[in-house]
């Protein structure tokens, strides 16, 4: 079956995302755009994943629990998990690896937590918008151990990307897929410059921080079932 996807969406838990990035707003916007599956991927946290999954279940949209983990090299890694439980298991390690500091809300923005009815249930007080002390190899290991998949975010971008920060993809990394940002209008032009990246599956996501930025019905995969595990397997 053909599934239209957007596997990189921030909720209002990410300080840099709009505060109307609530579970139901995201789910309904994704449905309006004609998507079949989305992933919620907040910075170093999956605390809103469960609420968005529940909102998705009610409305008929598959939602994958994810996280955008920042490695010690300041590389952003999109991590997708088979369940909220698996995401929260890795989240525990991520929290242990964050500095003991509070989010400066007046500078970065608030980190809102929701239930599945969009009620604000609290705020995450941790400084999430920063690097963990986990190296990229360790992040890949942790995500795989939880049954998930790690995909370097927006590899073509000049900041927080594996190519800008590490120069090239380390041979040792068990990498199967890379995310290309929407800055890339012509995939073939990009591959002409970086032919070594052709061997990885390419994922095109919105990295939406506001509702209007969620992907249109453009990018799709062809899989057997619309289930998180199946989508993880596709990119694995």
């Amino acid at each position: 079956m053909i599934l239209y996807y957007d596997l990189h969406i921030h909720t209002a838990l990410s300080p840099c995302a709009d505060n109307d990035m609530t579970p139901n707003n995201i789910v309904n916007m994704a449905l309006l755009k004609g998507l079949d599956v989305i992933a919620v991927t907040d910075h170093n946290s999956a605390e809103n994943a469960r609420a968005v999954i529940k909102a998705g279940e009610k409305a008929g949209l598959t939602v994958i629990a994810g996280m955008e983990i920042e490695t010690s090299e300041e590389v952003h890694v999109l991590s997708l998990f088979p369940s909220a439980d698996a995401a929260e298991e890795v989240q525990r390690q991520v929290y242990r690896s964050l500095p003991d500091a509070k989010n400066p809300e007046n500078i970065f923005g608030s980190q809102l937590l929701f239930d599945e009815s969009d009620n604000i249930t609290g705020k995450n007080e941790r400084l999430l918008l920063t690097a963990t002390s986990l190296g990229i190899t360790e992040v890949f290991r942790l995500v795989a151990a939880a049954g998930g998949i790690a995909i370097p975010s927006h590899v073509d971008r000049p900041s927080y990307s594996i190519l800008s920060n590490l120069g090239f993809i380390p041979d040792e990394l068990p990498l199967t897929a890379i995310e290309l940002s929407k800055n890339i209008s012509d995939k073939n032009e990009f591959y002409k410059m970086r032919p070594e990246l052709k061997k990885y599956k390419a994922v095109f996501n919105s990295d939406a921080h506001s509702l209007g930025d969620i992907s249109e019905k453009i990018n799709f995969i062809d899989v057997l079932h619309n289930k998180p595990n199946e989508i993880i397997r596709f990119f694995g």
Partner: protein
């Protein structure tokens, strides 16, 4: 000046094998974005970086930098040390920060 002189004058810790400390040091480059280092560092440079990922070894080889200095007593990944030893790359450690290292290096080079 040789790497061995640098180790002595800046009180650096030798993290990798001591075999290549007679290499000549001619300049310095400071940057943590490896994509930039790849195109900007020059042969003979001391490269100061807080990055300790495996890729620093390949980039030091590629640019023919004389050695890498990791500042602020940051621990270097074990895999990186192993790889540096196999690729003849010298990694040094310092308790100083990048700025303090540059000030001292500037007086020596």
């Amino acid at each position: 000046m040789k790497i061995s002189d640098l180790i002595e004058k800046l009180d650096l810790k030798l993290i990798t094998r001591p075999d290549y400390t007679d290499k000549e040091v001619t300049g310095c480059y400071v940057c943590d974005l490896l994509s930039r280092v790849m195109s900007m560092a020059k042969q003979g440079d001391v490269w100061i970086t807080v990055q300790t990922n495996l890729n620093i070894v390949a980039i030091a080889s590629l640019t023919e930098a004389a050695c890498i200095i990791v500042p602020e007593d940051i621990e270097v990944d074990y895999d990186t040390v192993l790889k540096a030893n196999s690729k003849d790359v010298t990694i040094l450690g310092s308790a100083l920060d990048g700025y303090s290292l540059c000030v001292r290096l500037g007086a020596l080079l």
